[in-house]
């Protein structure tokens, strides 16, 4: 041993989990949703997903190249953003509009604020909202899977609320109704959620509080059938894949409870008193903005700590 010894601060071992492995797990969790999207909505769904993932990555690459920063696309976070944004599109969405959404999500919302970890709202969510506001007609032109039963074949089930019955429940679970390509099949989303929880990528707190609060408040606000409301529209997809984004959700467990309940309350309120379109997105967006404050009021108490003056 003649070579010099390395001197570094402790600890000298690190866990195998990395940002990249976490993002890879999110992509794996999205596989059931992607499969359902392709089966229900055809190859066009796959085209949207692939284009969006690739364009998001490219945006980050070009930005970092242009500003001579380290290239970080291998952490897969932009791929996740792109895929999630694509899953929020109706099957007929024009590709160039989606590309515009990707650019907004990655460049405007993420990179302009300092890249991964520095954005204050979820990039995919913001991209969806920008597209929703800019191209409302295309964004609400929901396609219906060809093999959907008649009762559900006209529009999204949320728009039909009131006329739905428990008999439609199995079709709702399977997603045999109109909607954006990623949100229709509740079972696929739940499978993804279970995978993320088992792998320890997310805790079930935010999805559970989100869905629970939405159920409770939509019942209080007089919805005809709150349970059916959970399984139609973007609630589950938003609760599992968008509200749980690390960067834009609180750090502590109690913070996550407040965040989830807030999302659920706002969704229920918007669905009851405003239009049903985009309620989940706006609810999460508003709660994203509150995260720094939630983190502050739910700070963990230091073990044995006395209050600082």
């Amino acid at each position: 041993m003649n070579g010099l010894l390395t001197v570094t601060p402790s600890p000298h071992i690190r866990s195998p989990r990395t940002t990249r492995s976490i993002m890879r797990d999110v992509l794996i969790a999205l596989i059931p949703v992607v499969i359902v999207a392709v089966v229900y909505f055809g190859w066009r769904a796959l085209l949207l997903i692939c284009v969006s993932g690739a364009v998001s990555c490219l945006c980050e690459f070009i930005w970092e190249k242009a500003f001579k920063k380290d290239i970080t696309i291998s952490d897969l976070s932009s791929v996740v953003t792109g895929v999630i944004l694509a899953l929020n599109m109706p099957a007929g969405m024009p590709v160039w509009e989606l590309i515009f959404g990707d650019i907004c999500a990655v460049i405007v919302v993420k990179m302009l604020f300092g890249g991964l970890g520095r954005n204050f709202v979820n990039p995919a969510l913001a991209g969806r909202i920008i597209l929703f506001v800019s191209f409302t007609a295309d964004m609400t032109n929901y396609t219906v899977p060809s093999f959907a039963p008649d009762a559900l074949s006209s529009a999204t089930p949320l728009a039909l609320e009131g006329s739905l019955t428990w008999a439609d429940f199995p079709s709702l679970l399977l997603g045999l109704h109109g909607g954006v390509i990623g949100e229709v099949c509740s079972l696929a989303i739940i499978a993804g959620c279970v995978y993320l929880c088992v792998r320890g990528v997310i805790k079930p707190i935010i999805p559970a509080c989100f869905v629970g609060a939405e159920l409770l408040f939509s019942w209080l606000f007089g919805a005809a059938n709150p349970v059916l409301g959970v399984f139609s529209g973007g609630l589950l997809f938003g609760a599992v894949f968008m509200a749980t984004d690390y960067v834009t959700s609180p750090l502590t467990n109690w913070g996550k409870v407040i965040f989830g309940v807030g999302c659920g309350f706002l969704t229920a309120a918007m669905r009851a008193f405003a239009g049903s379109n985009g309620a989940v997105s706006f609810a999460i967006l508003i709660m994203n903005l509150l995260v720094p404050y939630i983190n502050d009021i739910t700070r963990r108490k230091a073990f044995g700590g006395v209050k600082a003056k």
Binding site: M1, G3, L4, L5, T6, V7, T8, P9, S10, P11, H12, I13, R14, S15, R17, T18, T19, S21, I22, T72, D75, S77, G115, L116, G117, R118, Y246, V247, S249, P250, L251, T252, N295, R299, R300, K301, A302, F303, G304, G305, V306, A308
Partner: protein, 430 residues
């Protein structure tokens, strides 16, 4: 693995700062002949500890060697004659009451052997014995690789029994709790059968979870008490002693032989035949590695202590000290730390912090140099166990950040104090 005795090393380098507090003051000159157990340095103050020769031989020089904090420290270098002859003056200390017991502990040279190195006599010299509701004997040994305390619990039960008897007799111990991680069933069984007849002794099997052996964590998990910020374990009614510390005290009082040797775990991916080795204090780490079959791979990092809190040393010729319980040599792959990436606010560091701190927020405040915020976030409580940095998926160097943040906080506190004094002086002048 049962420990093997190291043949007498050629030279030992015995540092004067193997404990917290004032360095010991050399009491020998170059050329003096010394024997095992002979005093070579006296305690340099109240919070200090004497140092004894660990081999017989001749004092070669009194040198300056690099200390783990980057400064220099004095060390007595002894060339061994290979005989390991005990000093003729070795005699059992006379212990008859609390004062003479603490005095004996002081002259035993024993310091906190779990790693902290705090002089044990200072810890035991409490003013009011009735305040001590429980003695907690720390056998958690939660760092990966390290098994030297495990060997104490398996091989030195008689010393531990005597140590407990001493605490009961002279420290009026009413309750003695051994805290051992449940993944050491043999230790738990051995301790349970050794103390089955003593109702004051409890053997507590704790969940094997790092950092179970952290003082505050152990006190909480064995007694449910929380040591308040800025206070000592004694304020929560507890005194925590490492198992090997207790056994070493008993050995001195039984035989008069002070602390001159240590069981050291020699391990790591670059070591050919990992072993537990009984080695004289002051043995250069290199001699231990050579005794363990040398290196099977080029070592790139040498650690004193475990991989979570151990210190990477710049030089394998540096000696093992009183509070060294392991030396690890890591190969190239294990020496490389992954490159940090951006924090993704996953909150893992918050979940794993045993002291309820929020490392990600501390890092933010550190980057802004925000002393007030660091004060609110209690970075001063951090014990640098490394749990957050271990778990962080972005591989942030959180322990290093916390250390630096403590510096910012100290400057900020000093500034606040100076301002308050200025204000008080102004008002007094009015």
């Amino acid at each position: 693995m049962a420990p093997v005795r190291l043949p007498p090393p050629e030279t030992v380098v015995i540092p004067m700062s193997m404990h917290i507090g004032a360095p010991a003051v050399p009491a020998v000159k170059v050329g003096d002949t010394v024997k095992v157990g002979q005093l070579i340095a006296e305690a340099g103050g109240f919070v200090s500890s004497p140092v004894y020769a660990s081999v017989s031989g001749k004092v070669k020089k009194i040198d300056e060697i690099p200390a783990s904090n980057g400064r220099k420290m004095k060390a007595v270098v002894i060339a061994s004659d290979g005989l390991m002859e005990p000093w003729e003056g070795i005699a059992r200390p006379e212990v008859k009451d609390f004062e003479s017991f603490v005095a004996a502990v002081r002259s035993s040279g024993v310091v906190g052997l779990g790693g902290a190195g705090f002089p044990t006599a200072v810890k035991l010299g409490v003013k009011d014995l009735s305040k001590v509701e429980a003695f907690i004997i720390n056998g958690a040994e939660c760092e990966p690789y390290v098994t030297s305390d495990t060997r104490t619990m398996l091989d030195r039960l008689d010393d531990l029994k005597d140590g407990v008897a001493l605490l009961e007799k002279y420290m009026e111990a009413k309750r003695i709790i051994f805290g051992v991680e449940a993944n050491k069933p043999r230790c738990i069984e051995a301790l349970r059968s050794a103390f089955s007849s003593d109702s004051r002794v409890e053997i507590n099997a704790l969940p094997p979870m790092y950092p179970q052996g952290g003082e505050k964590v152990l006190i909480y998990n064995t007694t449910g008490r929380i040591v308040p910020e800025g206070k000592l374990p004694l304020d929560a009614g507890a005194i925590v002693l490492n198992v090997t510390t207790l056994a070493s005290i008993a050995r001195y009082i039984n035989t008069g032989m002070p602390l001159v040797e240590k069981v050291v775990t020699v391990d790591g991916s670059a070591v050919a035949e990992p072993k537990n080795v009984i080695a004289p204090i002051g043995t250069p780490a290199r001699a231990l590695f050579e005794f363990c079959g040398g290196f099977k791979e080029e070592p790139c990092k040498v650690l004193y202590g475990g991989p979570m809190m151990g210190i990477a040393m710049p030089d394998a010729d540096l000696p093992i000290m009183k509070n060294t319980n392991a030396v690890l040599a890591l190969n190239e792959a294990d020496s490389r730390l992954p490159k940090p990436t951006a924090c993704i606010r996953c909150g893992t560091c918050v979940d794993v912090c045993p002291l309820g701190l929020m490392p990600t927020l501390i890092e933010d405040a550190y980057e802004r140099g925000d002393g007030q915020r660091l004060k609110e976030l209690k970075v001063n409580l951090c014990m640098e166990c490394g749990s957050c940095a271990y778990a962080c998926p972005a591989k942030r160097p959180l322990v290093q950040v916390h250390k630096l943040a403590k510096g910012i906080l100290n400057v900020y506190n000093a500034k606040l104090k100076a301002e308050a004094e200025k204000k008080a002086a102004k008002e007094a002048a009015k």
